[in-house]
Symmetry: C2
Subunit: 221 residues, 2 copies
């Protein structure tokens, strides 16, 4: 126990020390505080650079050049490339996307698919998302972050959409929300992010009708 106590003591000391520093050494102020406009410039630069060259080729140097700042400004905010990208991306992905409730299943479905289409047609998003997805297959850290930022949210939307439809009697009980998500997002993602063919309104309507029909049979074994 002696050792453990000493370790704890050391930890306490470290924490206490940082507090002490914060109090005793006078809080940073004046020119000694991170400039918000520079942070914004860096964030934008990262997103654009990510879209243009991808995560694999992303270089801090290029980000700094594009943002018009020194590398130090970046390293002062984030520890390294991965940390920076994850923080920025998950921040962007974190906002957004209200869960739909239009009153009918058909309405909800149409709304979701239009939202997703819009999102995947966004110039930057349609570049960054597939890139990070591919990268996630190699980098567990990225995978975990994307999981949190996207997958969790997806599932929530799927559960809600299906739950509402079932309770309204518009979908059979036992409909699998996971398959629902696959059927809703899969074709859109394939079309827009992989095959990269645009989807016009007419096409989207057909797709919505098809997906709706598909969902209706997922419960029957």
């Amino acid at each position: 126990m002696r050792v453990a106590e000493e370790a704890a003591e050391r930890n306490r000391n470290v924490l206490a020390y940082s507090d002490y520093v914060a109090i005793a050494k006078r809080a940073p102020a004046g020119a000694a505080v991170l400039r918000g406009d520079i942070t914004v410039a860096i964030r934008n630069a990262v997103m654009n650079e990510l879209a243009e060259v991808g995560y694999g080729r992303l270089s801090i140097e290029a980000v700094a050049r594009r943002a018009g700042v020194g590398k130090t400004a970046i390293y002062r905010r984030w520890g390294n490339k991965l940390e920076m990208v994850l923080e920025i991306v998950s921040d962007v992905a974190g906002r957004s996307v209200p869960l739909p409730d239009t009153g009918t299943f058909a309405g909800d479905l149409q709304l979701i698919m239009m939202i997703v289409r819009r999102a995947l047609q966004h110039r930057i998003a349609s570049q960054i998302i597939p890139d990070l997805m591919a990268e996630a297959a190699r980098n567990p850290q990225i995978a975990e972050t994307l999981q949190k930022a996207l997958h969790t949210h997806q599932q929530a939307v799927g559960d809600k959409l299906v739950g509402q439809a079932v309770s309204r009697g518009e979908l059979p009980e036992g409909t699998d929300p996971q398959i629902a998500v696959d059927l809703i997002l899969g074709p859109l993602y394939w079309r827009l992010a992989v095959s990269r063919t645009p989807i016009d309104d007419d096409h989207l309507d057909k797709l919505i009708a098809a997906v709706a029909a598909a969902l209706r049979v997922t419960a029957t074994q």
Copy 2:
């Protein structure tokens, strides 16, 4: 016509010249011919390296190291990184995939989806394909090659599948083969290459049923 003839003449000359060289200068022989085993080693190294680090980070040096050859051996076979990757990948993608005809639409559909599932569960394929897809969004050369290697083939399969089913009366006339492809490949790709969740037989059956239902309504409206 004078100019065109001269151009043709020049082309003939060029071709004749290379033939002349091949004949007059004695064909390469002995140790002066590309070693097949080294070519194979490089090809494998490229595929593995591609899967591990992606196209963006792929380095000739790493490929050479992994293959246990010198960089020169690589540059002697291909002009540069892009050319090498495109040749190797499209060669691999070029083989494969017999068009299905099991006699029934349900059978064809099931067969296709099982083939695709198998393909997308392949360790290397499931890494390389999304990676190159993402890269294709930036690099027109890659996009074009993938288009040739995959998209064209896809469309052929879609056309055939739908055509057969329509002529058998299993699908309504006017069914859109393009939407069919989206509905078939989209959910599978999403699941296996993006969301990276495995698909068991039970799940696949449900998916097949759902897709079949979806296809049946794509003609209406």
